[in-house]
Symmetry: D3
């Protein structure tokens, strides 16, 4: 487990990212993920810039993006990521019913993924033609 760089121990470079996180998210705290990344300021800065760009409202709304993030995190078995993105999704309006349906889809997709691979199903011509 990496040391967590708290705000009072952070360099100016790290603190600037923490401040941007708090301002962008309109919150008064920084979660542990960033405090761990702060052990390597270039990674902290790069990942934060990436998250700001990729998770911003766009053709997909921010809540949908959080649901997708949860789907990846559950499939990869990342407990931290499930906890943090479930919190983010709830903050963006996800209901418990939506979470339950999300988990059901994730479960079934993992099942049919293995069935498609196990049966060696060839991609249909119509799917290829549509690309």
């Amino acid at each position: 487990m990496a040391a967590l760089i708290e705000e009072n121990a952070a360099s100016a470079e790290v603190l600037a990212v923490y401040e941007d996180i708090k301002a962008t998210r309109k919150t008064d705290w920084v979660n542990n993920f960033w405090k761990a990344l702060a052990n390597h300021p270039p990674t902290l800065k790069r990942i934060w810039e990436t998250i700001k760009q990729v998770m911003a409202p766009g053709a997909l709304d921010p809540l949908t993006k959080e649901l997708v993030y949860i789907a990846v995190s559950v499939t990869n078995n990342c407990n931290y990521c499930i906890a943090s993105h479930t919190a983010s999704a709830r903050a963006k309006g996800m209901t418990e019913e939506q979470l339950a349906e999300l988990l059901a889809v994730i479960g079934v997709a993992n099942e049919t993924n293995r069935l498609a691979v196990g049966y060696g199903v060839p991609v249909d011509e119509r799917f290829l033609a549509a690309e």
Copy 2:
């Protein structure tokens, strides 16, 4: 690779599922996934009933469910599933810009999942308390 059970070679039990797939989806064909599962009628029937239940409109709309399905399939590296659910998502209105944003979120989630694990980030008390 499993044999694909075409409609003209299907038993009445299999054919009934094929007909329900076509009626439910308002389409005139059945894609290869189902023709492979038809090698084992109980699995064919069970998976189709599951998909009908889980992918139906609910607290989450059908397009969001397809996006989640793609996220799982890309993370699991299932080419068949990516092809079939990308086609389904497009049929439900997914634009190319939405697909591009979806893939960007999937990519970043896979990156930060590994960073959270690699740094061994402990779950924040606030996330635990919120559950």
Copy 3:
């Protein structure tokens, strides 16, 4: 893709392993996996010795071991391994009905694995006590 070392191009060291594979398996050919590993004779020899030890009859019979091998290979999405171990399992008596049930279990296990992780289910005291 690595070059495949055919028997007529193999060193004495590699050939000795090929001969042992054929003798142990009572067959007249060597499949591509070994011809690829032959690019690095220490790996070829080590993996073959490992397979001979681990897949031999023991507390579990050889067919059960092949079914487990298929389960891992489908979960990892390894097409070569699915093809080769499905062939091995059939040679050891696996029926098509058994293969279908195997794939059904693999699919459901992948689904419930994700549900257990997604819901963050804590291990029951009784399971811990039983260990």
Copy 4:
């Protein structure tokens, strides 16, 4: 972590599933997995019906199915599932020697899966022809 729905807090719909689990398994308790799924009764009911169908005696015996379940769960790194299905397998007669051989096969299969992918081994014509 989801709330666990204990029997005294369960709806009639959930309780009916709990009773069927206990009756089918001839046991007096329900493990946490089901109490977590009970947050979404349609998922609870669907997964229980699926497990009853897929894990029932068939062309494969129930113990073999449990071994396959463990193989998938170890490969997916699902601690809950490893604990619960190891308990189920022991209840169905799995010995410690069988568990040790099972883990050995799982380990080696994961190793050779990566070697087959890393060397890019092409599927042998004989394997394709046999399908």
Copy 5:
């Protein structure tokens, strides 16, 4: 499969990235990965900037970074990534003997990862204390 944006069909924004790829790598061509990302110029630009930063010489030399990239790609079963990073590693001096040892380490790590999980090995106090 996404369309590949060839240089003669690329926008000025995309072309600028292609030119930077060629200049940075001292080569006269752009591989398909970038031509696929060019379907979404913000992703193309972001990933290229990320790769330039992360894969640059630093505390780890560029060849070691390529070996790590191959290890991840083999574990994730990404054929494209194995092909492209094996080519990059060879261009940076990787020998066939080094590749063979790399694949052996990847294989064994995947095996022992599953054994550690399967046996549920607790982290040693000395490892925790050292962090």
Copy 6:
């Protein structure tokens, strides 16, 4: 969780492996991984012989091999393996800056692996020709 076989409870066969581990590593203790494998002496012996062979200095130096081991372990989400191989890598001279760059490469490789799969990028002719 498997029982850990301590030295004072080990058979002569197990003890011989423990002694070889300590002598080879010039250390006075045996970490939990081996104490868990000792539940099945043939696996203990086989894995230790494998590790000795594969992790020995060769065309790749031992530190590079540890970095690759960490990359696989992070991608597979094996906490035990991350802890033990991070300790091994540090003992072989890995600096904190090297660890940070290693984690950055692992993260980015996981991201681009999914992008390559998600976009369905075909392998370039030049990469195929080079093999």
